[in-house]
Structures are given as structure tokens and as C-alpha cells.
């Protein structure tokens, strides 16, 4: 009799389980609009463009994120606010991974070009209380804009061990980052939820969900694509395998097609280039493909797509060290990248004096311009602004050079044929 009751209960569980699966959102296409500019942004950028036209093409501007009084800072990220300002997030403390590390935020007013005083978004103690568990350290804040207009901030927490023991948590804000909700833990790994980290911006789906490029770096070092619904992972797909690629950066090509560029973590003797994966079904399956032939010294890569069709990448294009940081530009169809600007270069200095320029993060406000932040020797966060006019000029130059090269190659080929 007890067996019959148990089997009846199992039948009930089966019905509930199937109904639960049936209620899950289907896998939607990518939202291909590269940015969402509202009226306020348009107004502010139009004013800015007008002023830049008057003054000619302005050179890239650079400044620093505000000082928190902490000796160690790292992993800055940015998001556009509804009023046209830019909010930055980064972590700072006595040293990376220390218990006193907190996630800070500051707002950049694009009109006055001034950063607000930094505020603490979340520290270890508040993360512990919100997540109801011991937390040893925090890191890697990555903001996202939810479909309902709220801000969401993903960050990693570690309870035991090093960064390889990280898990992702998320907080949301209804007021553009002034106040934040209690954190929620994202569960993405079956082994005590260990070793899932985030570094790169999320991509949006047409159904309002987010696709969050994440990565593991404990037993394996590989990328994973998390489909996130309101702070809960509802699906995930592997972007690479093995121990060679982390910190995926996703470029959406169209509603179904996207490419991911990784930070390589290969063993000595293997090519120090950027690993690449592709999807042709909105992230449901990924295939590893040929490397991008740009040097990568096991350091993070950032990039974005502009309205003009150009793509920009910021990375360390060297095989060892992080002492040079460059801005590359290219077209998605022609997988050819050219250095547009050397942002930092300590090559001339002796090894001991070379600084580290790492963890770049890019956003665009209007689809033409670009705001970049990166870690400057782990002591400061550098912010650079590239105007739309400057980037357009650089892109035209590249296109002209590419055309000239193609014409020369064609001429050479026809000349050889004649001979």
C-alpha cells in the first residue's frame, strides 16, 4: 500500500516537473540593437557632437576614476545611465582578495567631465548578510541593464580558496545605482557552485533575458554562456572546453549569430593568441574556431560594436606582460584588425619598472563614441573617452588603407598573371 501511495506521489511530481519545464521561456534570438539611447542621451550627445564639430575633431581625453584611499584597485566596468551619464564600478582594498575589499561606484558627468565622489556599492559584510553565508572576498563587478529598466550588477564572491573558488552574485537597483537590493546567488556549477566568474558585459535577448558570458578557472578553464532571468540562471551553454580560454567577450553579429573572443590561458609552447568561438543559434551551441591572430599574454580583452559598423578592441597585444595596451579597430566581415592608438606602452622601460595595464572595459553611449576604463598598475583606474568623430576618422583611415592594400594586391596579382 505504501508503495502505491509513493508511486502516486511520484506521478504528481512528474506532472509538476513537466509543467515546470513547459513554463520555461524558449530560447529567444539576440536583441541586435547594439545600444538603447533614450532621449536624454541623444540630447546630451547631440550637444556634445555640435560642440566637437565647432572645435574640430577632439583628441581622446583621459582622466582617472576617483581615489578611494585604497592602495589596490582593479576590474573597473561601466554602464550608461538614463540621464546620459556613465556609472563606473570597480573593486578596491588594501590588496586584491583582501577582506577589506569593497565594490565602489562613481558617476561621470559627460557635460562637466567630472567624476562624483566614490560610494561603496557592496562590501564583504553586507554580501555575507544578504547571501546568508560566509564570504571571504569580492571582485569583478559587471553591470547590466535589465529589460524593465533596472540596473543589475553581477560580481564574484569567494568563500574559500582563491579566485578559482568564485561564485557569481547579483544585486539590482531601481534608482540608477543609488541604492541596491540584497544580493542573490547565481548557481552555475554542480561542484559546490565553485569557480564561475564574470568579467565581460552581458548581451540582451529579445525576450528581455540576459546572456551572461562567464567562465570557469579551477579544474577546467573554459567559457560558459549563462541565460539569466532576474538573477537566476535558467540555462547555460559551454563556449569552449579544456584549460585554454577564459573571460569571453561576445560580439553579436545578428539575431542568431555571435562571436566570442577569449583571454587565452594556454600552457607554454602553445600559441599566445585570442581563442574564438562562434554560435549560429543565439548561444544554444558554440563551436571553437581558429584563433584571432592577435597576441594575447593571458590578459582580458574588451571590445564593442559601433553604429558605423566598425568594431573596436582594447587589449595587450604582446605575448608576455601587460605593459602595453592598444586600441584596435576592424570590420566584422573582414577579420582584420589594425592598431589605431597605443594607449599605454612601457616597452622602453626595464622589466622591473614596467607597469601593468589590464582589465579594459568599453561602452558606448550613442553608438559612435567609446568610454574605456582599465587598471593602471593596480593603483588607479584610468578612464579614456574617444569621441564619435575621432573614431569615425580612424575608421575611414583604416578603410582607405584596407582598400589601397586590396588594390595593390590585385594589381600585383594581375601583373604576375601578365608576366
Amino acid at each position: 500500500m505504501s508503495r502505491v501511495i509513493a508511486l502516486c506521489f511520484l506521478l504528481l511530481a512528474a506532472v509538476i516537473g513537466f509543467l515546470h519545464i513547459d513554463s520555461r521561456p524558449v530560447w529567444a534570438p539576440f536583441a541586435v540593437v547594439p545600444f538603447q539611447a533614450d532621449e536624454a542621451v541623444e540630447e546630451s550627445t547631440t550637444a556634445k557632437n555640435k560642440s566637437s564639430i565647432k572645435a574640430g575633431i577632439s583628441n581622446p581625453q583621459a582622466d582617472w576614476l576617483p581615489d578611494t584611499g585604497n592602495p589596490s584597485v582593479h576590474a573597473a566596468s561601466l554602464i550608461a545611465l538614463n540621464d546620459g551619464a556613465v556609472r563606473a564600478f570597480w573593486f578596491a582594498g588594501s590588496r586584491e582578495g583582501a577582506a577589506d575589499v569593497s565594490i565602489y561606484s562613481s558617476v561621470f558627468d559627460v557635460k562637466s567631465a567630472i567624476w562624483s565622489a566614490p560610494t561603496v556599492v557592496i562590501d564583504r559584510i553586507s554580501a555575507e548578510k544578504g547571501l546568508s553565508r560566509y564570504i571571504a572576498k569580492l571582485g569583478n563587478p559587471v553591470p547590466a541593464r535589465l529589460s524593465d529598466g533596472r540596473l543589475q550588477l553581477f560580481f564574484v564572491t569567494v568563500s574559500i580558496g582563491g579566485w578559482a573558488g568564485s561564485s557569481i552574485s547579483a544585486i539590482t537597483s531601481d534608482d540608477e545605482g543609488l541604492t541596491w537590493s540584497n544580493p542573490q546567488r547565481l548557481i552555475s556549477s554542480p561542484l559546490l557552485n565553485l569557480s564561475t566568474l564574470v568579467k565581460s558585459p552581458s548581451v540582451a535577448y529579445t525576450d528581455g533575458l540576459l546572456g551572461l558570458p562567464a567562465y570557469h578557472e579551477w579544474i577546467g578553464r573554459f567559457g560558459e554562456f549563462l541565460r539569466v532571468d532576474a538573477g537566476r540562471v535558467i540555462d547555460k551553454r559551454r563556449m569552449s572546453s579544456g584549460r585554454s580560454a577564459i573571460q569571453p567577450l561576445v560580439f553579436v553579429n545578428d539575431a542568431q549569430d555571435a562571436s566570442a573572443y577569449f583571454r587565452q590561458t594556454r600552457s607554454a609552447g602553445s600559441p599566445k593568441q585570442i581563442p574564438v568561438s562562434h554560435t549560429q543559434n543565439a548561444g544554444q551551441t558554440w563551436q571553437q574556431s581558429e584563433d584571432l591572430t592577435i597576441s594575447n599574454p593571458n590578459s582580458a580583452v574588451t571590445g564593442l560594436s559601433l553604429k558605423s559598423g566598425a568594431r573596436i578592441l582594447v587589449l595587450n597585444n604582446i605575448e608576455n606582460g601587460r605593459y602595453r595596451l592598444v586600441l584596435l579597430m576592424g570590420e566584422p566581415k573582414v577579420e582584420k584588425w589594425q592598431t589605431v592608438e597605443v594607449l599605454e606602452d612601457d616597452e622602453a622601460l626595464p622589466d622591473a619598472q614596467r607597469k601593468e595595464f589590464s582589465y579594459p572595459y568599453l561602452i558606448t553611449l550613442d553608438g559612435d563614441d567609446a568610454h574605456l576604463v582599465y587598471t593602471w598598475d593596480r593603483k588607479k583606474i584610468r578612464h579614456r573617452y574617444f569621441s564619435g568623430a575621432w573614431l569615425k576618422q580612424a575608421f575611414s583611415k583604416i578603410q582607405a588603407e584596407t582598400q589601397a592594400q586590396t588594390q595593390t594586391q590585385e594589381a600585383n596579382a594581375s601583373h604576375q598573371e601578365v608576366q
Binding site: 505504501s2 508503495r3 501511495i5 509513493a6 508511486l7 506521489f9 511520484l10 504528481l12 511530481a13 512528474a14 509538476i16 516537473g17 513537466f18 509543467l19 515546470h20 519545464i21 520555461r24 559584510i125 555575507e128 548578510k129 547571501l131 546568508s132 553565508r133 560566509y134 564570504i135 571571504a136 568563500s159 574559500i160 540584497n182 542573490q184 546567488r185 547565481l186 548557481i187 556549477s189 554542480p190 561542484l191 559546490l192 557552485n193 570557469h216 579551477w218 579544474i219 577546467g220 578553464r221 573554459f222 560558459e224 537566476r232 540562471v233 535558467i234 540555462d235 547555460k236 551553454r237 559551454r238 569552449s240 572546453s241 579544456g242 584549460r243 558554440w286 571553437q288
Partner: protein, 204 residues
Amino acid sequence: MNSLMQILALIELSITCAVVCIWTLQKFSTNPLPFIAKVLLVLLIGNLLFWPLGMNLPLVAYVRGVTGDLSIVLTLLLWSSLLPSYKPAPLTFKFAVAIIALCFYPFALGIGMVDPYAWGYGSIVFLATVLFIALVCGLVNWSKGVWIIAIAIIAWAAHWHESANLWDYLLDPFLAIWAICACIGMMYRRKRDKARSGYLFRPG
């Protein structure tokens, strides 16, 4: 909703830790504890773990920092060990868990592009397989297994824990280690008993 989930998870883990303490106590005790004593001990230890007692966090939050939320299957197996009518899980179940864990974890942790963990988010085939395993438990007259798996499925559908993945309600590394150790222990005992039975010294 989130804070309620956190409190319930802490209560659940406090009880589980208390049960583990009692189980350990019994391993070193010659006399079995009466059921009422076990219940009182669970209440006492559970409360000690759950309340912060002047600290920044309750003790169970430190355990949760390391273990996360345990699977429903392990939790219910542990809790049921306190019942007076407790019968150990059949060896076939332990063997099945050990085999599944040994196949599952290497792939889920990054060997190749196939990720069986992703099936747990919403694969009908995976759910049907789990139901089939539960049905087999029922057919071999282990009703407790049917109950436990059914409760795990309902807990997953009801978002009882932070995870939206059915695997996290069915399996965790501690359950896997327990199953693997039980299988190794059983094999060792069989080998030892066989050796003691003297078949090695039978006259030819």
C-alpha cells in the same frame, strides 16, 4: 521572497548539520540513542547553529559558505536516518549514485563541449530518466527512494533552493562521496569475507 528562501535554507542546513553530529555521536557510542533524545539533540544543536549568538553570522552560515545548499536527496536521506524505522539505502542505489557521479562530474566540470549539468535546467529527457530511476526504486520495493526523488522534483519546480537546476536537487559532491565510499567499503568487506571463508586454502 529571497530573504525567506535564505532563512529556510539556513534552517534546513542547521538540521542537517545537527543530524550529522548525532550520526557521528552514534558511531562512537555503544548504546543507540532513543528517538526522543535524537529529536531533542537536533533541536539543541540546530538552534546553536542557526542563531548568530552574538557573532556576525550564525555558525551554519560558515558551513553554507563552503557547502552551499545540499541536495534534497542527501538532506532527506540524512534526516530519515533519525527515524526509528530507519533502514539503510539499498546497495544498488548507492552503486547507481556512484556510477552517475563518476560519469557526471568530469563532463560537468569541463571535459569536452558536452555539459550534462545543462540538462538539469529543463531537459524533458533528463526529467523522464530521473522519473524512471524513481520508478525502479518503487519496483524494487524501496518506497523511501520514490518519496525522496519525488520531493526533490517538486522542490526543484517550486524553486526551493537558489538553483534552478534539477541536478542540484538530486546530487551533490557529499552524496557522491558517500556513495563511492559505501561501494568501496562493500567491495572491501566482500573481499575480506571471501578471504576469511577460507576458499583460498580449500584442499584441491
